[in-house]
Amino acid sequence: MKGSPQRKERTSRHSERRGPALQNPFQEFQSYSFSTKNIPLDRIVQSTEAVMDQIRLGYEKLLEEEAKELVWMVQYNTIIKAYEVAERYVREIDYSAEDIEDFCFALENTQKIPYLIPGPAGLYISALCNYAKEEEIVLKLSELKTEINLLGFRLTKGKRLLIEGDGGDFTGIGLEGGDLVVEGNAKNWTGAGMRSGKILVKKNIGLHTGEWMMGGEIHVGGRVRGLGNIVEGKVFEREKMVFPGKVRPPNMYY
């Protein structure tokens, strides 16, 4: 039967059914030599997800231990205690600065994290930043709807934390020599109790700025809504030093 007219007819009918050969839509890339040495992307994704799971677990443990009540009160003791718990979990995770950024995004955009409580979240992120291998960390928070409090808590010397977006209350408190930059605004009690280092807020800052600060500098690109009771250190408003300076009652609205 090979080559018989019936077979030929069948073949031609078959090819008619299949239609003409498909055009190669990637033709111009035919001569591009691709590399297969790369780690497959799914493996990278898997390892990133494993790290994220660990980070998420640490945050959930922190919430379990420290924020059992529905309201989490910002008090000196609770902050110290919660930070110590956060430190305990964070120390055991091998993560990079990018993972911190992913965690910030995941706080609002995934259902895997049950609650975003601005206080504990800020402390946990601060602990992640302080124990990160990298010296410079960038957090893109401009897309977040919730302002996270306590970012930059105890930021240590040699670390630089850049926040793209706004900081919440208690930003940069207890700063320990680090360099904190907030691209947007910061709310009340910024830099409270800081010992050394520098905080730069590019837009405006709230009340009680630098309350009980013991050293270091706070630079504000916009307006300072009110100064706190500052012990030592310097505060600049639009490059002009406002503390130490002319006596200006704390928290004056102007």
Partner: protein, 444 residues
Amino acid sequence: MEQNGYQKQVREIYRFISDHLYYNRPDMDVKGDHFNSAILLSLLTALNRGKELIIGEPGLGKTTSAEFVCTLVYQFPLGVIWGSEVSGHPEQTEEKIIGRPDLGKLNRGEEDVVWTHFSQLPVKIVDEINRLPETKQSMILDGVDRGNWEYLNEMIINEEYCLFATANYHDGGTNTIIAPLVDRFDVMVESRYPGANLAFLVGKKRRKDEILRHPRYEKELYRVLKSKIGYEKKMTRMEEVCNAFGEHLQGALGVKPLQKQDRINIRTEMETLGLDLDASAFTRMFLAECSFCDRYGQKRVVENCEEGCHYTGYLCHDIKNCASNRLPTSMTQYAQALAWLLGDSAVDIEHMKAVTPYAVSHRVQWRDETLSQKERSQRDDPFPIFLAKEAVKAVSQRYREQSDTIKDALAIGAKIFQGESLEPLDGDHPLYREIKKDVEVRRT
């Protein structure tokens, strides 16, 4: 790129317009060259038979910029261009836009069409197009798209034509431009306020358009346009008059307009410019983001993007409609024209990034959430162009991060199409999924 001196000639036309006729600030930077987007894109539109929508506040030179470009690229005296313009108003009729019955012949029982100057000339300007009611906009759809103008049972086909339409921002007398008509425009650009100082200069130099007029040539062209000879013959005769006017312009102003053969040569040169791999991969990436939907297969204006989708970080989440097939054509055509003007040997990613916002801005329908998030952002551009520029920035950032992997994925796709047994690459971008879909079709 072979340099026949046309680039220099076109750049001289650009310079003449920006120095003497249309004062404005440069607002586009392409590979170190600064251009004003309104003049540059109008020039590219006139050169490569494009269609441009010029938006802006009243009195900021939307129509005049197009008129100046048409005069110098097509050698028509300004008076003839004015006489061929169609203005958008609610009472506009097909007879005023396309053609009317020859009443003399009709009395004798014969049917013949008297074509309007608008339908006959290769340069077409529709002033205030959004004052045309939606129902009347469809009258010009076919002509805008293909250059075919039909009336009664007759038709003329413009072999060479370009179209400029102007539109004011919405006010009491404007209508929405229907989506099929908007999509037919290759680019949208704003004719912007030149700034107080240049505006002051504009005020001082009144009647600067006189230099582009010539009553004798205008009369002669009108005579040819009204004559009863065949359309092709008419075009040949008009070309002769236009060439004479072009020589007059060169003598009087020192700027050499383009003749028909020049324009044909320029187009041939533009069409030979290919896209390099980065330009091609970037364009595919952009198109994938403008058309992809993980859940429903493709974007459709009637379907909503669901929250919680894996691809929420991409443009597909922010837009409602699907990119039309005219979009890649416009992007490629204008990128080729720009690359040609800059004297480059191929279209690269910079050319593509420069023209894409103008090709995309009028075609994309953004989600309300995206609009409300960004409408108060600090910006220099009108909102749609601003959004398109932001989108291009976001995609080019993603392309920078993934360019090697994207090109690998496309190369693997090419090999699979050639019959090699490889697995398509996985990746976190809609384009990888699109490649997989194409490859699966090949395998089945």
